[in-house]
Amino acid sequence: MAENLTDPEWKKGSAELLVLSLLEDQARHGYDISKLIQIRSGGALRFHVTSLYPLLHRLEKQGWIEGRWVEKPEQRRRRYYRLTAPGRKALGSKQKSWRDFVAVISRITGIEHA
């Protein structure tokens, strides 16, 4: 199962949705995002730096998220990303199509949502 999930094909479809979802409630920095994905997936899903950051920058370029350097005393500065209004909209539509997709798969395969 884990191997299937780390398959690039899987990630490609879901990566944007995952990142956008994690930023829905609060701004996070890259390492935070990658850790949350790893923890919440129980280690099944992992993003390497080499794919996470190009993705973040692509999303930023699309205007869905916005990165900003935040400096805190006694710490090095970090780049925090937050969702923009278009991003929120995109997330909404992605969530909807994902739900639709899962529902369709469930109906076909008979697998119930856990």
């Binding site: 390492y31 730096v49 080499t50 996470l52 950051y53 190009p54 370029k61 970090r78 780049r79």
Partner: protein, 807 residues
């Protein structure tokens, strides 16, 4: 994505890796595992490379793009490095500001000192083939050393040297700058002029900026050609660069002179620092020199000329010296009264440039080498400070470098990129340094009065080249070690280091500390030296020069230059004394032929009863012609006998007062105080004996704190001079009477030059000027160095934070 965003991407990646590494470590993994875990993140470079490809500009703008192994086009790489450097510096303005200010001050200090060296030593005479030019001056036969004291030669001797020598293409004579009175519309002003032989400019090989130089016939018949060549700076500043200056006239010392030409810019005669406003043909000497120097053109005992010659091709200095020495010994045989015991010294022209007050060119060279070394070390301190900042920055940029290395950039390229940054920083500092240097020169040369007569600092291509070279060198000096350190970063090293400490490594702190100790010691040494000098200057002020300075004002006058005859001059002296004595606040006044600390000794004092000395072994002495009341006014104590009074008249018995040094040397013995009284002496240039009526205290006559010199005073009534200095003793502060005194002298005779009235303490200031400039420079550089270090200490004790703070 903007170029800046790309650098940020690298930063983000680096941080991410670092976080990953730390977490693994804190999760209990050993270093090796943590490293493996972290590096595995970089296993698949494909998505990143794809991302970079998608953003084409990354390859175009990035200094060291992924996969660049150093085979690129050199020029293209350089351009790329430069753009990247500009971008990086733009992103850390505070760091750049501090670095540029620190280095700029260091480079500025170097530029200032180097400009002075360039002006005074490397390039002091703006004439062609300086190496062919020799300075000639008389010296004592018994002293063979080249460093022995030299004296001027007489005009008649110069003519003989010129006619008889076989080694010089031409041999010219010139005097030191002398004050002349410029009379214009009832007012009188002061100018400096040099008497020069008609071939002076020809010998130097100069071309006039305007008009012409002197013609041979203008040097032949004395007193017939009243022509003058003007200093370029004088023409510009005093006459506003008037287009009709050539052909114009000036009334100097009551004679109308025609300006025939203007000397080339930058030429101030054979002088390193102070030159004349005008050059006048030597044939006009009679009209220019004070009355005691009359007959200077024919009398071989009246020596006021220096000589300079241009060697014939193929003639060496030694050959020239041999030829001239032979002529000198013939002249000594032919004219023993004036020339016995004298020979002539041939030296490179630069030896004659600095005059007696500034010392030989070797001393000047030593002083400037020492100053250059001091400022060089100041610059090194600045470099080490900036290098330290760069090391801190390098630590902060280590991860960035590590990622670049991981992405395939070669170490060589990284070093080159970092060096481009530091050299650019050096050049920027160099620009700031040129401004700082210019300001320093303004400060240094701005303190000199009468700018037209002074040398102008030569900020030429040499100085510019020097500043450029030290700027680039500076960039390499402070940039190399940090660049090599930073480029050595491998991913694992960087991560390990980052995990250990966010700032600097312990090793580097130790190195920095030991460097710092040396620097602090050096600047304290500088400051202590400066403080010691300062103390001795302070002591000099408290020293007793043998005359009073607290209530003294002096004013030089030259009634002879205003065309006054003897009777008129004497009446002028009398009237001035009466007028000045009436000023409230004036205690007493009198006349003296010598300005304090400016007297020069002459040889030929004869003491009755002593063996007549050979010409080579003559007694040198200061001769001071003084009016009645001088000793009281100047505060010179009479130890025995009496001072001059109204009974000492032209027709009464000739008298003199000697100083204690003369008394001790010629009438020695315990309690010798009164022994000289009644004895007789003969002063140089006179043929009558004078009876000693008093002994005055020995003081300083030529320089501050000098070894005791012989001094003989004679009464003005018995030894007339047409150029005297007025001494005024004030009741209160001398500043208050300066203007009234000047006013009374002008009222007595508007034609007589009466400028530059000075207080006693201003005269001491003048005497100690060079020492004060030297101490001032040492202190400024010492403080600069110390300031740089204290800032550095703060940044070190500030610990690891500096790495972030300067980003």
């Amino acid at each position: 994505m903007t170029p800046g965003a790309e650098a940020e991407l690298v930063e983000e990646l680096a941080q991410h890796l670092e976080d990953r590494y730390r977490e693994s470590m804190s999760g209990g993994a050993d270093e090796e595992d943590a490293y493996q875990t972290t590096v595995s993140e970089l296993d698949d470079m494909y998505p990143l490379a794809q991302g970079i490809e998608r953003n084409q500009r990354m390859a175009r703008y990035d200094a060291v793009p992924a996969g660049d192994s150093g085979r690129g086009n050199w020029l293209e790489d350089g351009w790329r490095d430069l753009r990247y450097a500009v971008r990086t510096m733009w992103n850390s303005p505070i760091f750049v500001l501090f670095a540029v200010l620190t280095l700029g001050l260091g480079i500025g200090a170097n530029t200032t000192v180097f400009t002075v060296v360039n002006t005074l030593i490397l390039n002091p005479l703006p004439v062609e083939n300086t190496a062919e030019l020799e300075a000639l001056a008389a010296s004592d036969m018994k002293k063979s050393s080249k460093s022995a004291a030299t004296y001027p030669i007489s005009y008649a001797d110069w003519k003989d040297y010129q006619a008889r020598n076989e080694v010089f293409r031409s041999l010219a004579g010139y005097t030191a700058p002398r004050v002349v009175t410029l009379q214009e519309s009832g007012e009188s002003g002061r100018m400096f002029s040099e008497l020069v032989t008609d071939n002076y400019f020809l010998t130097l090989g100069l071309a006039p900026a305007k008009g012409r130089f002197f013609l041979p016939e203008e040097g032949v018949v004395p007193g017939t050609h009243a022509v003058a060549v003007m200093n370029y700076a004088t023409w510009q500043s005093r006459f506003g660069g008037a287009a009709d200056i050539v052909g114009g006239t000036l009334r100097l010392n009551s004679i109308v002179f025609t300006v025939v030409g203007v000397a080339p810019p930058g030429f101030i005669g054979v002088n390193a620092v102070f030159g004349p406003d005008l050059w006048i043909p030597a044939a006009m000497a009679e009209q220019f020199l004070p009355n005691e120097m009359h007959n200077a053109l024919s009398d071989r005992s009246k020596a006021v000329f220096q000589a300079l010659g241009r060697r014939k091709p193929g003639i060496t200095e030694a050959q020239a010296q041999a030829n001239l020495s032979a002529i000198a010994s013939r002249l000594a045989r032919e004219y023993p009264t004036a020339n016995e015991g004298h020979t002539i010294t041939v030296r490179p022209i630069r030896e004659a440039l600095y005059g007696s007050s500034m010392g030989s060119s070797a001393q000047m060279l030593f002083a400037s080498a020492a100053l250059l070394m001091v400022v060089g070390i100041v610059l090194l301190i600045a470099c080490s400070n900036v290098a330290n900042l760069l090391l801190a920055r390098a630590a902060a940029r280590r991860q960035e470098m590590a990622v670049r290395v991981a992405m395939g950039a070669s170490r060589q390229r990284l070093v080159r990129q970092l060096l481009t940054e530091s050299v650019l920083l050096g050049l920027l500092s160099g620009a700031v340094g040129m401004f700082a240097g210019y300001a320093g020169l303004q400060l240094l040369f701005g303190t000199l009065p009468g700018a037209a007569n002074f040398v102008t600092p030569k900020l030429d291509a040499t100085v510019f080249g020097f500043a450029l070279i030290i700027s680039v060198a500076t960039g390499f000096v402070f940039g190399t070690i940090p660049a090599i350190q930073a480029s050595r970063a491998s991913v694992s090293e960087a991560l390990k280091e980052a995990a250990r400490t966010t700032g600097r490594s312990r090793r580097r702190v130790t190195l920095a500390n030991s460097l710092l100790v040396g620097q602090v010691a050096f600047s304290f040494l500088l400051l202590m030296t400066a403080a010691l000098f300062l103390r001795s200057i302070g002591r000099a002020y408290q020293m007793d020069p043998g005359f009073q300075t607290a209530h003294l004002a002096v004013l030089m006058t030259s009634p002879g230059q205003a065309g006054y005859g003897k009777a008129q001059t004497k009446a002028f002296y009398k009237e001035v004394r009466e007028r000045v004595a009436r000023i409230p606040g004036v205690e007493s006044d009198s006349w003296s032929s010598n300005l304090p600390l400016w007297a020069r000794s002459v040889s030929g004092l004869q003491v009755e009863g002593q063996q007549p000395r050979s010409q080579a072994d003559q007694i040198r002495s200061i001769v001071n012609i003084v009016d009645a009341g001088y000793f009281e006014t100047a505060g010179v104590a009479i130890e025995t006998g009496r001072e001059f009074t109204n009974v000492d008249r032209e027709d009464s018995a000739p008298v003199a007062i000697v100083n204690a040094k003369v008394a001790e040397d010629f009438w020695p013995g315990g309690n010798s105080g009164s022994r000289p009284l009644g004895k007789r002496i003969q002063i140089p240039g006179e043929n009558k004996m004078r009876q000693i009526v008093g002994v005055a205290r020995t003081g300083n006559y030529s320089t501050w704190g000098e070894a005791p010199q012989h001094c003989v005073y004679v009464p003005l009534e018995q030894d007339y001079s047409d150029a005297m200095t007025l001494y005024v003793r004030s009741k209160g502060s001398p500043e208050e009477i300066l203007l009234p005194v000047q006013h009374e002298v002008r009222s007595a005779a508007p034609q007589v030059l009466a400028v530059d009235i000075r207080t006693g303490s201003q005269i001491i200031d003048g005497g100690l000027f060079q020492a004060k400039v030297g101490v001032g420079m040492l202190s400024v550089f010492g403080l600069l160095a110390l300031g740089m270090e204290s800032w550095r200490i703060r940044s070190i004790s500030g610990g690891g934070r500096s790495g972030c703070a300067w980003r």
